[in-house]
Structures are given as structure tokens and as C-alpha cells.
């Protein structure tokens, strides 16, 4: 905990020095005051880096071999190739992201397809989904947390393709929840009529993961 606090102050100091594009943070930064606090969920600190955290080895998937499959609660499957996905209308996203390990990064820029677009023509009565990744990672989400422009299939980061260490060629982006929900190396959704826990949700972490409510751990 001491180490974490020291790291936090270091990050704040660096933000104060280096931020040209985060005026709110830079202006008035003065030792004990924390003017950025309003922009950060409780218990989070700012980072300029983009830490690479995974529960398993980096997955290298060539876009020629890549596919994304939605499986409904009745077993119907719809699959997109990389070319199919690139043909869908995509958009730029600028958003803050928050990791349950307490770092937050403001104003990150992404490019991708809204989850609404791939779910649009799927016949389903499901209220939940399980996101699946190459390598076997899973994370569960209520459909209401990925619809209405709240989540994307992201394949661009900053001004380039999404780097593999950050989940490229494509990851789920659900920025209003802790970042373990934004599954790297995404390859499918299974639609569910009843909720089931994913890799971390079944093991100590919160089922929902709203950073503004500090839903970090089971029981929070």
C-alpha cells in the first residue's frame, strides 16, 4: 500500500509536468490539492503509461485467420471475417479508461465498430452475454452495458492499428466499466438468458465492475 501511494504521487507529479493536453489536471496542481479528483473514479490514480496486464500469454492472430462469432441462446451462430468487420461503419471514440488495479488513463483514442451494429440483426431474448477471447479468457456483461453506444469492437488505437499487446487485432472496449471487462483478442459473444461469471467475475472480482461505484471485488 505504501508503494502504491508513492507511485500515485509520482504519477501526479509527472502529470503536472508533462500534460499539455490535460489542462484540468495541470492547472492549479499544487502539492496537497488534487484538482483531477473530479475526473477520476474513487481510489484511482492517473497514469500516462498504458500498462500491459494479462491473465495469459499474448495471442497472435493473423487477420486472415481471425473471425468473430455471435452464438445466441438457441445456438444460432453468426460469424464475421476480418473483411466483413472492416466493411461495417466504424467510428472514433475518445474516452477515459479505468483499471481495477487502480490506474486510470484519460482521453484515450480508439477506433472501432459499435457493439450495437453486430447485435442489430441478431434474434435474441437474452439479457446477458459472455465475451470470449483467443486464449480462453472470458468476461460477462449485461446487454444493457454494451448497447446504445456504450461499447465497441475496437481495432484502432491512437492513430494506428491496435497493438497486439493491447489486444489487437481487435478487443472489446467497454470504457464505463473496469478494464478487465474490455476483453483483449476478442473472438465472440455467447448470448445468455441468465447471467454467468467470467474468468475474474467468478474469482474474487465484482460481477459488474462500475468504477464510479467502486465495484472492485465480490461483495463490494
Amino acid at each position: 500500500m505504501l508503494g502504491e501511494g508513492a507511485h500515485r504521487l509520482d504519477e501526479l507529479a509527472r502529470s503536472g509536468r508533462e500534460d499539455g493536453d490535460m489542462g484540468i489536471i495541470t492547472r492549479g496542481f499544487g502539492g496537497r490539492r488534487e484538482p483531477e479528483a473530479a475526473a477520476l473514479p474513487p481510489g484511482q490514480y492517473l497514469t500516462r503509461d498504458f500498462p500491459v496486464l494479462t491473465a495469459g500469454p499474448t495471442q497472435y492472430v493473423d487477420t486472415a485467420d481471425w473471425s468473430f462469432t455471435i452464438t445466441t441462446e438457441t445456438g444460432d451462430r453468426t460469424t464475421w471475417s476480418w473483411a466483413d468487420l472492416m466493411a461495417l461503419t466504424s467510428e472514433d471514440i475518445e474516452t477515459d479508461i479505468h483499471c481495477v488495479t487502480r490506474w486510470s488513463k484519460l482521453g484515450t483514442r480508439w477506433h472501432g465498430v459499435p457493439v450495437d451494429t453486430v447485435l442489430e440483426h441478431i434474434e435474441t431474448a437474452a439479457d446477458y452475454l459472455m465475451a470470449h477471447s483467443y486464449g480462453g479468457y472470458t468476461t460477462n456483461l449485461p446487454l444493457e452495458d454494451v448497447l446504445d453506444g456504450k461499447a465497441w469492437l475496437a481495432y484502432g488505437y491512437a492513430d494506428g492499428p491496435l497493438p497486439v499487446e493491447h489486444g489487437g487485432p481487435l478487443r472489446l472496449l467497454v470504457p464505463h466499466l473496469y478494464f478487465w471487462k474490455s476483453a483483449k483478442w476478442l473472438n465472440g459473444f455467447t448470448l445468455l438468458t441468465s447471467d454467468e461469471p467470467g474468468f475474474w467475475e467468478g474469482f474474487g472480482y465484482h460481477n459488474h465492475g462500475d468504477p464510479w461505484r467502486e465495484e472492485r471485488y465480490d461483495g463490494d
Binding site: L53, P57, Y60, G136, V164, W180, Y217, G219
Partner: protein
């Protein structure tokens, strides 16, 4: 870049801390058998993935999930379901 990313894991020593917190002594010499491929190696020679967000131990041969630990506000969670056997040297347990 690719080479660097390929080695995003660390050796098992990097995961020893959280597991040592669970068992109360150093686990680095414990012999762990993979539940996937049945290979055995000491804890220190397995593969560790940290902070994703918990601590994960995987088999270096087949990537199978051997064990994981999560520390919540008031609990330590331990999952050993992916490993078939942990053999604790008696010296370790009394050290």
C-alpha cells in the same frame, strides 16, 4: 516488438509473493504438476502473469492455467483446480 511481446510472462518467482501469502511460507520450491499436460516443474519455473488483475500461474509447456490468487479487501482467493498435484518439500514448510 513481437519478440518482446511474446515473453509477456515472467518466471514463477514473480508470482511467489501472493502464493506465499496464502500458504505462509515460500512456495518457490514446491513441485507443481500441470492438470493439462501432466508435466511437473517447481513453482519458480512455471510462468507467471501479474496484475491481470489477479496473479496467474500457467504451465510453460502448454499454457494451461495451473493456479491463481486474488486478494480482495478482506480475503485471499486461491484456485488450484488446473493443477493435479502440489508437492511441498518439508524443508520449505518448516523454514
Amino acid at each position: 516488438m513481437t519478440e518482446q511481446s511474446a515473453s509477456n510472462s515472467l518466471d514463477g518467482n514473480a508470482a511467489a509473493g501472493p502464493f506465499t501469502d496464502v500458504f505462509g511460507f515460500d512456495v518457490s520450491t514446491v513441485l507443481v504438476t500441470c492438470g493439462g499436460c501432466r508435466a511437473s516443474a517447481v513453482f519458480a519455473e512455471q510462468r507467471a502473469f501479474l496484475g491481470g488483475p489477479g496473479t496467474v500461474l500457467r504451465c510453460p509447456g502448454c499454457d494451461h492455467l495451473l493456479a491463481r490468487v486474488v486478494q480482495t479487501t478482506d480475503e485471499l482467493w486461491l484456485d488450484m483446480s488446473g493443477s493435479s498435484c502440489w508437492r511441498f518439500p518439508l524443508e520449505a514448510s518448516t523454514a
